[in-house]
């Protein structure tokens, strides 16, 4: 009888995940005893937990530890993305409280769910086995389905949750099928083993099973990052979900999707780069163009930012197409920048909205600049950054994504990207035109800035500007991290 050997388990690589899971479960239990008016405290504790997790992640910087028989790894690549997830979660928690109280759905479960999402995302970034990555993806997705439909009194929110769930399940099918085919072809689910197998093939792309596996996995991830033509859920879900959760969804899970896809494709399928680059070229062009062109026609600001978010995924796919250090480090930098600027913009939308968000249109920003100059300046900074203008993070991010493509000779892709970026200026600046050049129709007297939102705005503005002026302080970490996966 064979002995079952239990591999030596090193817990250090998943310490942040363990910490957050335990915290989230504890909070779920504690939540029962917290009176309904005091749920904010759950949020505060979660925020502190997020900071603590960030410290845990930070202390592991520079180490390379594999564990669980090669199922997870602690490396700089994972740590960098974990920081993005924690930042997105932290900012989302900060802007949730005021919104949830206003919408009368401040149930304490919100915050543990956010933490569970983060745990899932972290596993996606740290997983070095297809199974781990899938596990992380499901933990993340299931939590997100609930978060999207969290405002259960609101029909739109319900619709968002259901749609996200149905389509998510559909796409997961593709992803899982892709993983299964890959396993069938290579006999392993470990990323490194798949890479070894692919390297031994003289022409890996002639192995139909392997090729189909890779393609199906790409479509699965394309759904998670909302790349066209797998993007159609995005506008409906983003519009219906509670605004802070929209902000969170647009930054965190998208980054997680990129993290997992980057690791799988750059490590396992590096020998098939010619094949997937070609596919990403098409996806990037489609995604950028569909996102931007549709955003031009949107009046609802959340819907507009949903399409804009599709377009931004398209810019990242440009970096993916390039697949070189400049482009891939560009994706990491861009996702971080995007977290700052997009959640910042959503924070302003949270502030401007009334209960039930009857005023979610671009026109409702008329004269905002005169009534609340400081908030309007912050919004302008976010919009400028989203549009990719210097000296903001968005400009530098796009600069690196596109220069990655140019280095690889994808000149036309960069040209299409820049043209798209130029078109996007229209709908971002349209908001500013309303803020500064239209007479106010509202007094905005309901608007109150709570301390957590003020803090989130401060962080977002600082991040957007600092990354725009001194990109190297972050970029060098991204470049370091991408080298070592």
């Amino acid at each position: 009888m064979d002995m079952i050997t239990i591999p030596a388990v090193n817990m250090t690589p998943i310490m942040p995940e363990i910490f957050l899971s335990v915290l989230a479960m504890a909070l779920l239990l504690i939540n029962v005893f917290v009176p309904s008016g005091q749920k904010s405290y759950i949020g505060y504790i979660s925020f502190i937990g997020v900071i603590a997790a960030a410290v845990l992640v930070g202390t592991g910087w520079g180490m390379h530890v594999e564990s669980f028989n090669g199922a997870v790894v602690q490396d700089n690549f994972a740590s960098f993305f974990k920081m993005i997830f924690l930042l997105a979660a932290g900012l989302a928690i900060l802007i949730s409280d005021q919104y949830m109280v206003r919408e009368e759905c401040n149930h304490g479960e919100l915050y543990p769910l956010i933490l569970f999402t983060v745990v899932g995302m972290m596993l996606m970034a740290a997983g070095t086995d297809l199974m781990t990555i899938f596990l992380g993806l499901e933990v993340m997705s299931v939590s997100l389905y609930v978060l999207a439909g969290f405002n259960r009194e609101n029909r739109k929110s319900n619709e968002a949750g259901l749609k996200y769930f149905l389509l998510g399940a559909f796409s997961t099918g593709f992803l899982l099928y892709g993983m299964a085919l890959t396993y069938g072809a290579t006999g392993s689910t470990r990323i490194a083993d798949i890479a070894t197998f692919a390297a031994q093939q003289s022409l890996p792309s002639s192995n139909v099973m392997l090729l189909a596996g890779m393609l199906l996995m790409i479509t699965g991830f394309a759904f998670k990052v909302a790349a066209a033509p797998f993007h159609m859920w995005t506008p409906d879900v983003y519009e219906g979900a509670p605004t802070p959760m929209t902000a969170f969804m647009s930054a965190g899970p998208k980054a997680a999707g990129f993290a997992a896809a980057l690791r799988i494709l750059l490590v396992s399928f590096s020998t098939m780069q010619a094949d997937w680059s070609q596919l990403f070229w098409v996806l990037a062009v489609l995604t950028m163009t569909v996102g931007n062109i549709t955003a031009l026609r949107q009046d609802n600001i959340k819907r507009m930012l949903a399409y804009s978010s599709i377009a931004h995924a398209g810019y990242c796919l440009v970096g993916f197409t390039a697949g070189n250090p400049t482009g891939t480090a560009g994706i990491m930098f861009y996702m971080l920048s995007y977290t700052f600027m997009n959640i910042g913009a959503f924070a302003i939308i949270v502030l401007v909205g009334k209960k039930g968000e009857p005023n979610g249109n671009v026109m409702d920003f008329a004269g905002f600049g005169f009534k609340h100059p400081a908030l309007a300046v912050a919004m302008s900074i976010f919009l400028f950054s989203l549009a990719g203008m210097p000296p903001t993070a968005g400009f530098i991010g796009k600069f690196y994504l596109f220069s990655g493509a140019i280095q690889k000779g994808y000149i036309w892709l960069a040209v299409i990207g820049v043209l798209n970026s130029a078109a996007s200026v229209y709908y971002y600046l349209r908001v500013m035109v309303y803020m500064y050049m239209k007479e106010p129709t509202e007094e905005f007297d309901w608007l109150q800035v709570s301390a957590p939102i003020a803090l989130s705005l401060l962080i977002s503005v600082t991040g957007t500007l600092v990354l725009g002026v001194v990109p190297s302080i972050v970029l060098q970490y991204a470049q370091e991290a991408i080298k070592l996966i």
Partner: protein, 669 residues
């Protein structure tokens, strides 16, 4: 070693942020002015420490690149936020922060009660920040950031009284003319970067690296093109022919601005830039000649205009243009140290003169305001006899005037004489040297004339305003007078650190400390010059040098004498002269109609072209295309929106379709 040098530009930036963001709420002038001045004082202190540290090092080690962080990297291109510490940048930061601090103090008194007091100090600090970035930046890009920054602040401060149309126009004029120059700067920088990289694989914009690799560059040819582009930038910023006309108009700004930006610091940026890139300019004899000729012409030309102006600040403005011409004459003669020396002494005496004129205007304005007179407070024809009313202002003004006139013993004499001698004796321009020297010497005479004309018209004779108003004339408060005294003191003694060798030998071999101090910066260029000089290093006799020095002093004295005769002894002569040669006077008074010429040749055709492009091209062609594209794009958006039906089965079909197409393409291709 120089790790804290980044503090120097940081303090004014903080001052700008505090005053700019909170100034409106602070309201208290003492606090606002205090913050502004204190920020500069801190920079000055750090600058002092920096230069002391620098001096403690042996000569050849006086060079440091202090990197704060990497700004951007892209392929071969790398730009750092990094500062260059060497004797040249140190002398510049001392001038900028030292004179800047005095002018900040002065401004607290001068701007008292002005609307937008905080705005003024915020801009002033922003200017200090940009200027320090310009002189400290260790690469072309950072220098350009400062270069643009000072241009912006200059624009903002010239148009400080923006409700006055003339001020707004002057600001725009300065901005546009500077843009012409900036364009040259950029072209030069791009060409240099590309040329060095493409031909010698030296992809750098850092000054030290460029200097190290300058030996790869050819003489003339491309280098001439590059340096001429840079020089075009310098003519814009430093108000030389042909881009000088903005500077006199810039006097619309408050007087401290004229003193700081348009006399002591910003306008010398072009001179500094040439000094910083001396290794480049020295490799193009053609450019050097152009610089020398333009410098000499500007010196002479602006001086002639200065003789006929009646606005006290305009006289000083033309004087500044003229003195900048001297600096360029020095640079063009390869006498970089002499040019920088004159830059420094000029900063002292011209700042003193401007601030003094400001005190006079302030007092005049006050007096005229009291009697509700609408006479021009800046017109010298309304002044006179202020000597007894404002004794301290008069005394300081007189000292600075003597300095600028080039009377031996005062700072201006040492620097100007050095320039004239170098213009005569340099090995670059052959026979042209005599002409250059002649123009410089005549300009020196004219300088002495118009400056003393100014002093006599302002401070001597009878007061020409109403007796009632006269009683309200009074000396300025100490906060204004003290900077004047300090600057006047510097105008007198500032020259003794750079005594020409000839005089130094006379007094027992006192060395030219200043030249010696700057030697590490310019040594390679001097060696290069000694080898490659077009006309060989000529050896002139000591007697000749004495003779030339004596001549220029005599010319200056003659200028003063004429001024004395015309404006003190027999004041009717100028009027008679004007009557006898009306055309000449009108031409000089109207600045040789250069503005009108520019309007006719450049501005109006540009406007006409602009109108054509607007009405003909833009509205019809561009707008047509743009609107057409927008319509097409928008209708696409409509189609996609139609597909976005909201039904889950539609969405899943779209996904399935995507999967099928992708798999189909790859598996059956």
């Amino acid at each position: 070693m120089f790790d804290n040098v980044w503090l120097i530009p940081l303090f004014p930036l903080l001052g700008f942020l505090i005053n700019g963001l909170l100034g409106k709420k602070i309201k208290n002038e003492t606090v606002i002015g205090g913050i502004g001045a204190f920020a500069v004082l801190c920079s000055f202190a750090v600058s002092c420490m920096t230069i002391l540290k620098l001096l403690s090092l042996p000569g050849e080690e006086r060079l440091a690149n202090v990197k704060v962080f990497t700004w951007m990297t892209c392929g071969n291109f790398n730009a750092d936020i990094a500062f260059l510490i060497d004797p040249l940048s140190c002398v510049m930061i001392m001038i900028v922060t030292g004179v800047g601090f005095l002018i900040h103090i002065y401004s607290i008194g001068y701007m008292h009660g002005e609307e937008g007091f905080y705005r003024f100090f915020a801009y002033l600090n922003l200017f200090m920040f940009s200027m320090l970035l310009l002189v400290l930046g260790n690469n072309l890009l950072l220098m350009f950031v400062g270069w643009e920054g000072v241009g912006l602040c200059s624009y903002l401060l010239i148009g400080y009284y923006f409700h006055k149309k003339s001020a707004g126009d002057a600001g725009k004029k300065a901005f546009v003319m500077n843009r012409v120059g900036d364009f040259g700067f950029l072209l030069g920088a791009f060409t240099l970067y590309w040329f060095m990289g493409h031909n010698f694989n030296v992809w750098t914009i850092q000054f030290t690296e460029l200097g190290k690799n300058a030996h790869l560059l050819p003489t003339g040819g491309v280098v001439t093109v590059i340096t001429l582009c840079f020089f075009l930038g310098a003519t814009g910023k430093s108000a030389q022919i042909p881009l000088y006309t903005w500077l006199p108009d810039a006097m619309e700004g408050p007087t401290p601005v004229s003193a700081l930006i348009h006399a002591a610091t910003m306008v010398t940026a072009g001179v500094y830039m040439i000094g910083r890139m001396n290794f480049l300019f020295i490799r193009s004899p053609e450019t050097l000649m152009v610089i020398a000729v333009i410098g000499a012409c500007t010196a002479l030309f602006a001086a002639t205009i200065g003789t006929a102006q009646n606005d006290i600040k305009r006289v000083l403005a033309y004087s500044t243009v003229s003195q900048l011409g001297y600096m360029f004459l020095a640079m063009g003669s390869g006498a970089f140290a002499a040019g920088i020396f004159h830059l420094m002494t000029h900063a002292f005496f011209k700042a003193c003169l401007f601030l003094g004129s400001g005190a006079v205007i302030h007092s005049m304005h006050h007096a005229l305001h009291h009697v509700h007179s609408h006479d021009d407070a800046q017109d010298m024809r309304n002044m006179g006899g202020l000597k007894s009313k404002m004794p301290l202002t008069f005394l300081t003004f007189l000292l600075a005037t003597i300095a600028i006139a080039g009377i031996p013993g005062f700072s201006g004499f040492f620097s100007k004489d050095e320039i004239l001698w170098q213009a005569f004796a340099n090995p670059h321009h052959g026979q042209l040297n005599y002409l250059l020297w002649g123009m410089g010497a005549v300009a020196a005479g004219l300088t002495a004339f118009y400056m003393f004309r100014l002093v006599f018209m302002t401070f001597f004779g009878e007061c020409r305003i109403t007796p009632k108003a006269k009683d309200h004339l009074h000396e300025s408060p100490m906060v204004i007078v003290i900077p004047l005294i300090v600057l006047a003191g510097l105008s007198v003694v500032g020259g003794y650190i750079g005594i020409p060798k000839l005089l130094g030998d006379l007094f027992g071999g006192i060395p030219n400390y200043f030249e010696h101090y700057l030697e590490p910066v310019f040594r390679l260029s001097e060696e290069y010059m000694a080898e490659h000089a077009a006309h060989g290093v000529a050896h002139h006799s000591v007697a000749l040098e004495w003779g030339l020095m004596g001549t220029s002093v005599v010319i200056a004295l003659i200028g003063i004498g004429i001024a004395f005769a015309l404006y003190v002894v027999n004041t009717s002569i100028p009027a008679k002269f004007t009557a006898t040669f009306p055309a000449l006077h009108r031409a000089v008074y109207n600045k040789w109609y250069i503005d009108e010429l520019y309007d006719y040749v450049f501005v109006n055709p540009c406007k006409a072209l602009g109108r054509f492009l607007w009405k003909g091209f833009d509205v019809v062609v561009v707008d047509g295309v743009v609107n057409g594209v927008a319509k097409v794009v928008m209708s696409f958006g409509g189609i996609i929106r139609y597909m976005q039906s909201g039904f889950v089965y539609d969405y899943s079909w779209s996904m399935a379709f995507g999967v099928v197409v992708i798999l189909g393409y790859y598996l059956f291709k």
